[in-house]
C-alpha cells in the first residue's frame, strides 16, 4: 500500500482491508508510537468536519508526525479563487501525505492524479468516505470476532447515505446477508443492489425496523434528513418510524451491536446509550486506530 492513495473503498482489495484492520489492532494495543517523526501530514479541509479532522490529527500526532493544513476553505487561498489543482500542487511540496475533505464529488480522485504525494479521501461531497468504511469494518470485526457470514442491517436513509453504499460494497467481500430498512422513497439505489447480486449474496428489504431486530448481528443506523424529501408530508410520515429505542432491543441477539457514523440527532434515543448493544461511541474511537494504520502503511513505515 506504500504511496497508494485511498480515494474509494474499492481502490483496496479484501486482503488490503484486512491488513489495515490487523495493523489498527496493533495501534489499539499501543496507540503512541514515534514512527512518523520524519513526516509531515497535511490535512486540507475545504469544508469543516471537526470530528474527521481531529481523528486524523490525533492519529498523526500519536505517531509523532507534524500536522499542517486548514480546517475551512475561507481561511485558505481557495477563498482568493485558487484552483484545486494549484492548491494541491503547492501543498505537495510541503508535505508527505495529504488528507483532504472537499464538498465537490470526485475532487479527491482529481487531487490524487495531480499530487506527487499520496492522498487520503476524508470525504468528497456525497461520494466516498473510505476511512469511515474501514473503521466500520474494524468495529464490526471487533464486536463480532469475525467479518464473514454476518447478518447486517442498514437502517434509515439508504438512498443518499454514502457510508451505507461504501459499507455494502466492502461487506460484499465477506459473505454478508444484507437487511435493508428504509422508507420506500429512500431505498438502496439499484446499482448498489446490483453489486450485492453480482457477488451472489442476498438482501432483504423492510419498511419496519422491528422486523430485523431478531436476525441482525449489526444494526447500522443512519439519519433521515428532511431535505431529502420533495414532499414534506412524506417526511413527517416517516421521520419517527426509524428511531431505535432501548425497549426495541428486547428480542435481539445477545451479540448484536448498534453502530452509527455520528452525529446522531434523534434516531437513537439516549436510553440505548447505556445498553450493552450501544457501540457508536467506541466506533468513533476506533477511527483513530484505523487512521493510524492507514497513515503508517501508506507512508511505508508499517
Amino acid at each position: 500500500m506504500k504511496n497508494r492513495s485511498l480515494i474509494s473503498i474499492t481502490d483496496y482489495s479484501k486482503d488490503e482491508y484486512l491488513k489495515i484492520l490487523d495493523l489498527a489492532e496493533e495501534f489499539e494495543k499501543k496507540p503512541t508510537q514515534n514512527i512518523l517523526g520524519d513526516y509531515v501530514v497535511a490535512t486540507l479541509f475545504f469544508e469543516p468536519s471537526t470530528r474527521t479532522r481531529l481523528s486524523f490529527e490525533s492519529a498523526a500526532s500519536r505517531l509523532g508526525a507534524k500536522v499542517i493544513g486548514f480546517s475551512d476553505a475561507t481561511s485558505s487561498s481557495v477563498s482568493k479563487g485558487e484552483s484545486l489543482k494549484d492548491t494541491i500542487l503547492t501543498v505537495c511540496s510541503y508535505s508527505d501525505i495529504i488528507v483532504m475533505r472537499h464538498p465537490r464529488e470526485g475532487s479527491a480522485r482529481f487531487a490524487s492524479e495531480v499530487a506527487s504525494v499520496p492522498v487520503i479521501n476524508a470525504g468528497d461531497g456525497g461520494n466516498q468516505h473510505p476511512t469511515q468504511c474501514l473503521l466500520d469494518l474494524y468495529s464490526i470485526r471487533k464486536t463480532q470476532g469475525k467479518l464473514d457470514g454476518l447478518n447486517v442491517a442498514f437502517v434509515g436513509d439508504l438512498k443518499y447515505g454514502r457510508t451505507v453504499h461504501s459499507n455494502v460494497m466492502a461487506l460484499c467481500n465477506f459473505n454478508t446477508t444484507f437487511h435493508l430498512v428504509s422508507p420506500t422513497e429512500l431505498k438502496l439505489p439499484s446499482y448498489v443492489k446490483m453489486h450485492i447480486k453480482n457477488s451472489n449474496l442476498e438482501y432483504y428489504q423492510y419498511t419496519d425496523l422491528a422486523d430485523v431486530m431478531p436476525v441482525a448481528d449489526i444494526v447500522y443506523m443512519t439519519r433521515i434528513q428532511r431535505e431529502r424529501f420533495s414532499d414534506p408530508i412524506e417526511y413527517e410520515k416517516v421521520k419517527n418510524a426509524y428511531i431505535l429505542t432501548a425497549s426495541m432491543l428486547a428480542g435481539c441477539k445477545p451479540n448484536m451491536r448498534v453502530l452509527h457514523p455520528l452525529p446522531r440527532v434523534n434516531e437513537i434515543t439516549e436510553d440505548v446509550d447505556n445498553t450493552s448493544q450501544a457501540y457508536y461511541f467506541q466506533q468513533a474511537l476506533n477511527g483513530v486506530y484505523v487512521r493510524q494504520a492507514l497513515l503508517a502503511s501508506i507512508l511505508g513505515v508499517k
Partner: protein, 155 residues
C-alpha cells in the same frame, strides 16, 4: 448500381481518397462535425443532410477528403450516432467499411450529469468508463455517478 446509389452520387460527389461517415441520423450531422473537430480543418468536406435512405428513411452523410481517422476518434460519435458506418476510400475504392463501436472509455466529450461533480466546477477534462453498452451508461471516473442515455450532454 441501383437507383438509390446513382442518385446519391449525383447529390454528394465521390471522393478519391478519404473517409465517408454514412448512415448518420439526419439531426446528428452538425454535432458529429463538431465532435470530430472538422470545423477548423482545411480538408475538403461534403455534408449531406436529409438524404433518402432505404434503411432509415432520412439520413446524413459526411465525406472528408484526404483524412483517415483513428478508430478511437471515430468511435466516440457512436454516442449520438450508433448506426453510423465508417467507409475508408482509397483511389475511389472502398477499402474498409465498418460500423462504429461504443468505446470502453470516453474522454472530454460528455458532460457529467452530476451538478456537484468536480469536473463541472474546476477546469478538468471529463472521463467516463462505459459500464453498459446496450443501454448506454457512463460512469464518471471522478464522482462515480452514472450518466445514462437520456441524460447525455455532449460538450
Amino acid at each position: 448500381m441501383n437507383n438509390d446509389n446513382i442518385r446519391k452520387e449525383l447529390v454528394v460527389s465521390a471522393i478519391e481518397n478519404g473517409t465517408v461517415i454514412d448512415h448518420l441520423p439526419a439531426g446528428s450531422v452538425f454535432r458529429v462535425v463538431k465532435m470530430l473537430n472538422l470545423e477548423g480543418t482545411d480538408k475538403q468536406i461534403t455534408v449531406g443532410i436529409n438524404l433518402d435512405s432505404h434503411k432509415y428513411g432520412k439520413k446524413g452523410i459526411i465525406k472528408v477528403a484526404n483524412k483517415f481517422f483513428e478508430s478511437e476518434d471515430v468511435n466516440k460519435i457512436s454516442l449520438i450516432a450508433p448506426s453510423a458506418t465508417l467507409i475508408v476510400i482509397k483511389d475511389y475504392k472502398v477499402v474498409e467499411k465498418r460500423n462504429v463501436e461504443i468505446p470502453d472509455e470516453i474522454r472530454k466529450f460528455v458532460k457529467c450529469v452530476n451538478p456537484n461533480c468536480v469536473t463541472n466546477h474546476q477546469n478538468i477534462a471529463t472521463r467516463f468508463s462505459v459500464i453498459d453498452k446496450k443501454d448506454l451508461k457512463l460512469q464518471c471516473h471522478y464522482c462515480e455517478k452514472i450518466t445514462g442515455k437520456n441524460t447525455i450532454d455532449i460538450l
